[in-house]
Amino acid sequence: MPLCKLADCPVAKDGRCLEGRGADCPNLVQDSDVPEVIAPPPTTAQVSKPPSVTFEPLPGRTPLDVAEARRFARRGPCMVVALAGMPECGKTSLLARLHQLFQAGPIAGFDFAGSHSLPHFEEMNWRATIESGESGLQMTRSSSQFDNSFLHLAVRSTVRGSRVELLLNDIAGETFKKAVATQLDCEKLLALARADHLVVMIDGAALAAPELRHHHIEQVGDFLQRVLQGGQCGLRTALHVVISKLDKLRGHEAVADGLQEDFEVRLRAAVGSLSFWRIAARPMDDSLPTKERIGQLFAFWAETTHRYPTAALPTVPRSAWERDFCRYGI
């Protein structure tokens, strides 16, 4: 219905013009005359109201705790590798090197099949990258906060096609010294009881320095004595003695040879297997990392366990995998 400027005109109600002029009446209000109703400005909330979003957490914020590690152990063949050694002996460099190697290709016949710890591997590597802007060689040190945590890595054999989960337990150097000092602290290292592999690292630079050499050798020897006498390791354990920083050891190889002979005599019969490795994960001279040797060490971790008879490994029923950790009271 049209509108009229005259208040008494009934045109808006029944279409009759008060002055009888019909559609030509000058009092009729045209569309353009209708005052524009201006909506109030929208509030900030109306303008930027985001659609309702519900976020769900994804894994990988922190290393796996024991309960999470158990879940991976239930998935199938799972190797637990514990790395221990004095502060700055090269544990983090070794783990970071593995991450770097996988970024360049398969390692020793194993494809990278996944990891729930990628942010941690990347963080380990960060300070050794050009992008970080760090000068000289810097590595993030292991934190005792994660002594009973695990980094996860899954690999698949390019030959056999079998998948293996690896749980890597990086024991901080400060914790290592405490474990040497007291049995109580040593027993707090829960992963050792489940470890298929115990990797004890010795700083090659310390072996080359007479003022450091004897202390480092003794600390490592005492640590192994502790874990063996407490039953945390034994015949079910593959023990690896890794001399790191090979580039710093040059000229002092005889010290490493002597250490190796001594450990052979003292430890061979007490563990499932004893292996010696000399590596350079991040050499400081112009040499390159000992990639092949590190690859062999990794393949050993992925392929070997003394916790089960080798022949029986494929026939272990899935129900038994679920008890992997419980079996050792973890």
């Binding site: 519900t54 970024q103 290709g105 050009i130 802007g133 060689l137 991040r282 112009d286």
Partner: protein, 290 residues
Amino acid sequence: MASNPHHQSVEVNASRVLVIGLPETGKSSFIQALDEVLKHPATPNDLCGAGLAHDRSYIQIDKSDFLAGKKLNRTRRPLEDTSVELWFEHPPSGLRGRLHLPDRKGEMFRDQWVTRQWDKAYRENLSGIAGALVFVRADEKSRNDERLGVLANETFQSGGAPRPWDRKDASAQVQLVDVLQFIAEHGEIPHPLRVAVLISAWDTVGQEGDLRPREPVRFLEREWALLAQYLRANPEFFSARIFGVSAYGGPPDQLGPLLEQAPHQRVRFVDGTETTRDLTRPLRWLLQLD
């Protein structure tokens, strides 16, 4: 016609393909090029257009820039509504359908890596996808450079103070693998999910002095090794094929004489040792039309 089950209305067959990639990896350019190729199929058997979708407003935003050979302006695109719908027909089978390619911003995938969380709605949408297009760039490095050899012991002049660790600075292939892990392990995707890895900016490969492999499969194996291994080592989750693609046919903003050619003519697609203009090949595979 009515008795042939393939001859159904375009409205009936709807397929959703997940488009994955970190920021600026060529996702939007590919979609633009695909739209052009659907309109101008190279051979009668190629996937072709079956009309225009009702709403093409998203794809229209960048259309003029793409056709002019210009780099796309990401800031013009909306943050939320990134839906792209293309209508297609598969001449050999007579199948017609709608293809949904949500062009999600690469920042969304990067945020999943950084914040370790994802949108519940995104996760729920994964259950219905037909496959995934995963984008990486041929002209960007897949990992951070490590200081090795003489660099290891030198003071490196980066032009500033050392930068503290920030997850967003992680290697590109590591971020991408984690995004795929989230999908594989926390999304209810069909198993195995068909994944077409598209190596964009393929026109940068094979230039003088470039020693990188010229076959996409071998290129990924060498340059994006972690991603290649991950896809190969998880056959229960993924079935992957690798392609090279140059959506513009050359570097955007520098096409020069190539601009004389229509966009669908200058596009290049590499499958093994074969180079074609048929950008629909990965989609035919994802939709199991081949």
